[in-house]
């Protein structure tokens, strides 16, 4: 579905993404994890066309999409959301979602009707006529998801849609993401909420300092010493193992 090969980008002297290659197989929920500043959102920016990589290529559905502008990539079927939600503040929820619906629906009436059905899918049906700026953070995250979904993508890039939600809200949104996958949309998600990563995704890539350091099933990846060290610092895996042995003894 999506394949990045040896992608790199630098800002000044900082290598934000360094020779990263990853594959997203169709029909899956794949996650991208890593500590703060690892370059996850930057990599998303490259995949979705907001940033041009210094080196490497991105292929989507067998097509080279490296450096295509975001709207072209969206029209090919890959839509992203933003970590910091970016609603069209002055417009209602219905109008917000309809912007996405318009991608394949020139008629205003059809787009508004489609927006309603998408709102129903993500649990925003009760807020359709509210201005987007009046929504809670949890509802804004849903709106971000709904707008992207309204473009009817083949691949959905979700940038921390669960961040900032309380555990109850995470539990409510997780089935929505699963149902999106079940409807045939491939999902690539950046996520910090580990519980959700473990529950939802079939495959995980771990990014640290701009480099992909591990991949595999979430449960296996969590045990990988490189991953533990990425989060807890150099030598942490060794100390943890020692502590574990002591606890068992």
């Amino acid at each position: 579905m999506l394949e990045a090969r040896h992608v790199s980008i630098s800002f000044g002297g900082l290598k934000a993404v360094d020779d990263a290659s990853l594959v997203v197989p169709p029909g899956t929920i794949t996650s991208l994890i890593g500590p703060n500043g690892a370059g996850k959102s930057t990599l998303f920016g490259i995949l979705s066309g907001f940033l041009k990589p210094d080196a490497g290529s991105v292929r989507f559905l067998g097509r080279d999409v490296t450096g295509l502008p975001p709207h072209r990539i969206c029209r090919l079927g890959m839509t992203r959301t933003f970590q910091i939600v970016q609603p069209f503040a002055g417009q209602t929820v219905r109008e917000n979602i309809a912007v996405g619906s318009h991608l394949h629906r020139p008629q205003r009436r059809a787009a508004l009707a489609h927006a309603e059905s998408v709102a129903l899918r993500v649990g925003l049906a009760g807020h359709l006529d509210k201005p987007a700026q009046d929504l809670t953070i949890a509802a804004r995250k849903r709106l971000e998801l709904a707008r992207a979904l309204a473009t009817e993508p083949r691949l959905l890039l979700l940038d921390e849609v669960l961040a900032g939600l309380n555990p109850q809200e995470v539990l409510e949104v997780s089935p929505v993401i699963r149902s999106i996958r079940d409807s045939g949309v491939t999902v690539l998600m950046i996520e910090h909420v580990m519980q959700a990563v473990m529950n939802l995704s079939e495959h995980t890539w771990v990014l640290n300092n701009g480099q992909l350091v591990a991949e595999g099933k979430p449960a296996d990846v969590m045990r990988d010493s490189r991953v533990v060290e990425a989060y807890l610092g150099h030598g942490a895996a060794e100390r943890l193992r020692a502590a574990g042995k002591q606890a068992h003894a």
């Binding site: 979705s48 992203r80 933003f82 002055g90 991608l103 205003r108 787009a111």
Partner: protein
């Protein structure tokens, strides 16, 4: 649909006016209000709906005005035929300004400054080129025939400007209920989000400035016929740019009726301060300015926003 009916009723009422009113003063006031409405509608499409605040709409207005005047003076073209040329010339300058500034991602105050600079460049050019008559300007030959877009009384001009304003109304109405309008307001509210949802931001902004500039060009052509004279300052001076933006800001940005409400309020305010304080030079302008500041401060959504707040339930 309610918006459309309101547009038709308002325009229909104005169309009946010459049958009942013969006062040149009143008809002139209505014509100038509609003329200011047209400029406001043009600016409102780009700034109100599209969020691109131009401070140099005079560039498009003046180009329309000069295109019409120069074709009549130098080539003897019929003034009616000059109108589409004026619209096209204004739109072409809009495309040029838009392509350059949007290609390089100019937003907010940078875009405003660049448009202002373009208008000034055109003013200096018009001042120094023989084709535009230099600083002396161009005087449109007097014909006094409706066939030449010159009318004996005011009524003829009123119908022409009313038709142009109606076109401006219908364009704004269409923006509120079309995919293009949804894309344009999406670009206004958040360019990155819009791009992520498949909106070609550059193209949408370029189309908006072309439509907006075309309407300004029509306004310029009308101005030339009504006053039969144009010079660099009248065409490209900042006064026109300010007149275009003041109406929508006072009346309600990004709304169909904002430009009309604003233009009407400003014309009335201008007449009132001139007549009440006309004897003391400058006082009328000071009061005009003070009322403007108060309006912008206390009515951020303009007169239209105030009306909506006073009549809950109504759209």
């Amino acid at each position: 649909m309610k918006t459309l009916y309101t547009i038709l009723v308002v325009c229909g009422a104005v169309a009946l006016l010459p049958a009942f009113v013969s006062s040149g003063f009143v008809l002139n006031l209505v014509i100038m209000t509609l003329y200011a409405t047209l400029l406001g509608q043009a600016w409102n499409i780009l700034a109100g709906f599209g969020g691109q605040y131009s401070f140099g709409h005079a560039a498009f207005f003046g180009t329309g005005a000069y295109a019409s005047a120069a074709l009549q003076v130098h080539f003897g073209v019929n003034a009616w035929l000059c109108l589409p040329f004026a619209i096209a010339a204004g739109a072409a300058v809009g495309a040029l300004v838009g392509a350059l500034s949007f290609r390089y991602g100019l937003r907010g105050s940078y875009f405003a400054l660049v448009t202002l600079a373009f208008a000034e460049v055109f003013r200096i050019l018009a001042n120094s080129v023989k084709f535009t008559g230099g600083g002396v300007g161009l005087l449109v030959p007097l014909k006094s025939s409706a066939l030449d877009f010159q009318f004996q009384g005011k009524a003829g001009f009123l119908y022409v400007i009313l038709a142009l304003t109606l076109a401006g109304f219908l364009l704004s109405w269409w923006l509120e209920r079309s995919r293009y309008g949804a894309w344009l307001t999406a670009v206004r509210d958040n360019e990155d989000s819009a791009a992520a949802l498949g909106v070609d931001v550059f193209r949408v902004k370029l189309q908006a400035i072309v439509i907006s500039a075309g309407l300004m060009g029509a306004g310029g052509a009308f101005y030339v016929q009504y006053f039969q004279y144009i010079d660099p300052h009248l065409a490209y001076g900042p006064a026109v740019s300010v007149e275009a933006l003041l109406g929508p800001i006072v009346g309600g940005l990004g709304t169909v009726f904002g430009p009309l409400l604003g233009a009407a309020a400003l014309q009335l305010l201008g007449e009132l301060t001139r007549n009440l304080m006309g004897d003391v030079p400058g006082v009328s302008l000071m009061i005009y300015g003070a009322v403007l500041i108060a309006m912008v401060t206390f009515l951020p959504r303009g007169i239209g926003g105030l009306l909506r707040r006073l009549t809950p339930g109504a759209a």
